[in-house]
Assembly symmetry: C2
DNA sequence: CCTAACTTGTGAAGTATTTCACAAGTCGAC
DNA sequence: GTCGACTTGTGAAATACTTCACAAGTTAGG
């Protein structure tokens, strides 16, 4: 299969969100134009994105909302659940652990880790905070799919190395550092500082 | 000036971070190759990115670390400070308000807002949580530069409308919805769900 | 002063992504 | 069944972004 652009995958997620809205409102069909308007793109873009995976629409009518939603869930791999471990039991880790959207989409937090004596052992929403040094052993048993790094920048690379050794195949990184990892590990970065600086640039170079 | 790509601006932020590292370690110069390695890009890309704004390097030698850092701060608009209001005093808002990197880069949180009686009036890190309905009046006086939306998805668009009316020119949106706003307002989205689904896709479609 | 080893800045070439534009299918009304 | 109003799927064109490749400048060493 031809490689799918990152930007395409992001848009597919957006489309799925709109489809779920539409589903909730009982709409039977939706056109590429409708999806485009909500996703701030064009109808041609929507159709092209979908065309990488097949033809799901009906000419003259649009797409069946439940059918397309189902296909997108399938494409995005959301039909199965994914297990997640959160590393870093600070404010961000805590906000993440209780985030509704997490479980809502099939991502189940199975463990929280930290390195600080003060936090290890405390109970959080039914989960006991574990010692980070047990990650490798735990992972061999529990085989989590995704690790979320919610530590300060200084410790992030060390944690990433540990995750790699533990054989966890995907990382969502909230620490403001560029991680060095073997290429077979999938990484996504969420970097608030970068976004803020992007706004700063936009405000500075207006017009 | 030619329009600068978003991806370029993101990389500039990354370069600045590496330069600050280098500065701290006392390096006098740095080459495009060094910057590239840390930013997971190529040296040509680094040079091209910088060339949009002038020529700062010296052939055979590289870039002066403090000089380039200064120029990047200037380009990104980080020489002045920016005032920020956070809307939504829940877990995410709270994690943001105390985020070090925020103030570190000249973004000062001047107010926190919420709509819930329970939260309004409580004090947070020296800031009293204000009633969201006072945003427009407050903003007319205090003229914040950036509003951060840290509310649940349901309330985000309403909050965004209020921000637009208040004349705040930039928004950092953490709610998992696509906001509709007049084009003169700069918006950046941080959407965890999207990133997770991107990982789900990557794990599902490996090789 | 000359050479070797670097490194920048930048057109040109190469890829990737988005938009255009239109043939072809679908539906509902009459 | 025919018409008019829609809408998809998709090559082709346009645009955007990245990488190549090299002339030209800089430095250190002898």
């Amino acid at each position: 299969m031809k490689r799918i652009a990152d930007s395409t995958v992001r848009r597919l997620s957006l489309y799925l969100r709109f489809l779920e809205d539409a589903e909730a409102r009982g709409l039977a069909t939706i056109s590429s134009g409708d999806l485009a308007k909500k996703g701030a793109t064009t109808s041609a873009q929507v159709r092209k994105d979908l065309s990488f995976f097949g033809s799901f629409g009906k000419r003259g009518l649009g797409y069946s909302v439940p059918e397309l939603a189902g296909r997108l869930r399938q494409i995005l791999g959301l039909e199965r659940g994914w297990s997640v471990v959160i590393i870093g039991a600070g404010k961000i880790g805590s906000a993440l652990a209780q985030y509704r959207g997490f479980r809502q989409r099939g991502f189940t937090v199975i463990a929280v880790y930290d390195s600080s004596r003060d936090r290890i052992g405390s109970v959080w929403d039914g989960l006991t905070v574990r010692d980070i040094t047990t990650l490798e052993d735990d992972a061999a048993r529990e085989r989590p799919d995704i690790a979320v790094i919610a530590t300060p920048g200084e410790s992030a690379q060390g944690v990433a190395d540990r995750i790699a050794r533990a054989g966890i195949p995907a990382i969502l990184n909230f620490a403001p550092v560029q991680l060095e990892l073997p290429p077979e590990i999938a990484v996504k970065n969420v970097n608030m500082a970068l976004e803020l600086e992007g706004l700063s640039f936009a405000l500075t170079n207006r017009d």
